[in-house]
C-alpha cells in the first residue's frame, strides 16, 4: 500500500504544486496581504515544507512549531476565514494539476488537522 505522498508523486509533485498553489495564494486578495513582507526565497522553502506535510510526506513539523510560527499572525487577526481561503487555494491548485478529487480530499483532511494549532486555539 503506497502512501498518499507516493501516490501524488513525491518530491517532484511537491515542487510543481508549490508553484501553482503559492501563485494562487499571492493572487488572492483575501489572504495575500499576509505575505506582503515575506522573503520569497525563504518562503519557497517554507511552502515546500507545508506542501510536503499536506501530502503526508516526510516532515518533522510539530503542532508546537505550527503554533509558534503563526502566533504573531493570530495576534494580528489571522482567523478561520484565512485558513479556509488557503485550503481552498490548495484544493484549486491540485485540481488544476490533475490530482484526483479523492486524493485532494485526503490532502485537505490532513491540512484540516493543523487548524487548531495554526490558529493557536
Amino acid at each position: 500500500m503506497s502512501t498518499l505522498y507516493e501516490r501524488l508523486g513525491g518530491e517532484a509533485a511537491v515542487n510543481a504544486a508549490v508553484d501553482v498553489f503559492y501563485r494562487h495564494v499571492l493572487s488572492d486578495d483575501r489572504i495575500n496581504y499576509w505575505f506582503d513582507n515575506v522573503d520569497m526565497e525563504r518562503q519557497a522553502a517554507k511552502q515546500k515544507a507545508f506542501m510536503t506535510m499536506a501530502f503526508g510526506g516526510p516532515h518533522a513539523y510539530t503542532g508546537q512549531d505550527m503554533r509558534h510560527a503563526h502566533k504573531h499572525l493570530v495576534d494580528k487577526g489571522l482567523n478561520d476565514s484565512h485558513f479556509d481561503a488557503v485550503a481552498e487555494n490548495l484544493a484549486k491548485a491540485l485540481g488544476e494539476l490533475g490530482v484526483a478529487q479523492e486524493s485532494i480530499d485526503e490532502v485537505i483532511a490532513l491540512v484540516e488537522t493543523t487548524r487548531a494549532d495554526v490558529l493557536n486555539r
Binding site: Y22, L26, A49, T52, P58
Partner: protein
C-alpha cells in the same frame, strides 16, 4: 569526514548533522527533514550524496553545498559551514573610468587564486580600512581584470575615496567572492530574464556575457531601469551586444524625462511583463535596490517563473555604526 581539520567517522546511517552534534559541534538546523535548508553546509573535498543536494538550487549545488541532515557520507568529505572566513587577497587598481555622471568602472588586478563566477560579489578594502561589497561585472575568461561598476554616493566612504584619492597603481584588498546569483548552465535553451536598476546592471552584465560565452542558446532579455536616461550607462555596449548576438535582447527603461529612441518610458515591471508575456519556463535574475528586487521577485513569480528559478541580489546600503 573532516571538519575544522579534525577527522570524524560516521556510523552507518548517521548524517553529517548527527555526527557533528555527537562530537559537540553546533550546526544551525530546524526541520531535520531536508526541507528547511537551515543546515546548509559545503563540501570542499569529496562529493556529497545526491539525496543531500535535493532541493538545493543549481548554483549552490555546483559549489558543493548540501544539507547536513540528509547527508550520509559515502566517500571522504571535507566540510565547512557556509559562513566561512573568506580569504583576503592583495590587488592593485588598474583603471577608474566614468561610465555616467554617477557610476564609475573600477578595474583591479585579479589575484591569481581568486576564483569567481560572473554575478558574484566581492568585498573591497581600501588603504584606510574602508570595506564595501560590490557585484563583479567582469567575466572570467573575458576580462583579465576584476571589473566593478560602482555608484558614486554623495559622501560615500568608498566611492568618495575612488573619485578623490584612488588612482592606477594604488593597492587594495579583495575578499570573497560570495553570492549565488550567477549563471549555472543546467539548460542552455532555457529563456532568461535579467532585470536590474542602477548598478544592479553590473552583475547582470556579467551573467549575460558569461551565459553567451558558455554557449547559452535560449533568449536572454536584459531589462535595465533608471529614473532618468542619464542613469542608463553602458547603452552603447549593450546595443552592440544585441547587434552581435541573436539571442540577446536589451530593454532600456526609464521612469520619466526625455528618452532617446528605443528607450521605454514607464515602470520597468509593467514593461517587462508586457514585452515577454507569460514567463513560464524562464529563469530570472533580479539585482538592485531591495524594494525593486522584492517587487520583481513577486512579479516574475506571478508571471510564471518557478520559485526555484528566481535568483536575486539585493543591494543593501552600508550602515555606519556610531
Amino acid at each position: 569526514m573532516t571538519y575544522n581539520g579534525v577527522a570524524y567517522a560516521a556510523t552507518p546511517g548517521e548524517s553529517v548533522l548527527d555526527l557533528l552534534e555527537r562530537h559537540g559541534h553546533a550546526v544551525p538546523c530546524a526541520c531535520r527533514s531536508g526541507v528547511c535548508q537551515s543546515c546548509l553546509m559545503r563540501a570542499r573535498e569529496g562529493n556529497p550524496p545526491a539525496a543531500s543536494q535535493s532541493g538545493i538550487k543549481d548554483t549552490l549545488r555546483v559549489q558543493g553545498f548540501f544539507l547536513a541532515c540528509r547527508c550520509e557520507p559515502e566517500d571522504d568529505l571535507r566540510v565547512e559551514l557556509p559562513a566561512d572566513g573568506a580569504g583576503r587577497f592583495a590587488a592593485e587598481i588598474v583603471a577608474i573610468t566614468p561610465l555616467s555622471e554617477k557610476v564609475v568602472e573600477l578595474r583591479a588586478t585579479c589575484p591569481e587564486s581568486f576564483e569567481y563566477r560572473a554575478g558574484q560579489f566581492a568585498t573591497l578594502v581600501n588603504e584606510g580600512g574602508v570595506a564595501r561589497s560590490y557585484s563583479i561585472a567582469g567575466v572570467p575568461g573575458l576580462d583579465d581584470d576584476l571589473v566593478f561598476q560602482i555608484a558614486l554616493i554623495p559622501c560615500g566612504a568608498m566611492s568618495g575615496w575612488l573619485s578623490d584619492s584612488a588612482a592606477p597603481g594604488v593597492p587594495l584588498h579583495v575578499q570573497g567572492p560570495n553570492g549565488n546569483c550567477f549563471y549555472a548552465a543546467s539548460d542552455a535553451a532555457q529563456p532568461m530574464v535579467l532585470a536590474g536598476t542602477g548598478t544592479g546592471l553590473a552583475p547582470l552584465y556579467g551573467i549575460a556575457r558569461d551565459a553567451l560565452l558558455q554557449g547559452h542558446s535560449g533568449a536572454i532579455h536584459l531589462f535595465h531601469g533608471s529614473v532618468q536616461e542619464s542613469g542608463l550607462y553602458l547603452q552603447e555596449a549593450l546595443r552592440l551586444l544585441e547587434a552581435t548576438c541573436a539571442n540577446f535582447h536589451y530593454h532600456p527603461c526609464v521612469l520619466g524625462g526625455d528618452a532617446s529612441e528605443g528607450v521605454h518610458v514607464g515602470p520597468l515591471d509593467a514593461h517587462l511583463l508586457q514585452t515577454l508575456g507569460s514567463l513560464k519556463g524562464y529563469r530570472a535574475y533580479l539585482c538592485g535596490a531591495p524594494d525593486f528586487v522584492k517587487l520583481m521577485q513577486r512579479k516574475v513569480f506571478l508571471g510564471g517563473v518557478s520559485l526555484q528559478e528566481v535568483f536575486a541580489d539585493s543591494f543593501l546600503p552600508a550602515v555606519t555604526s556610531r
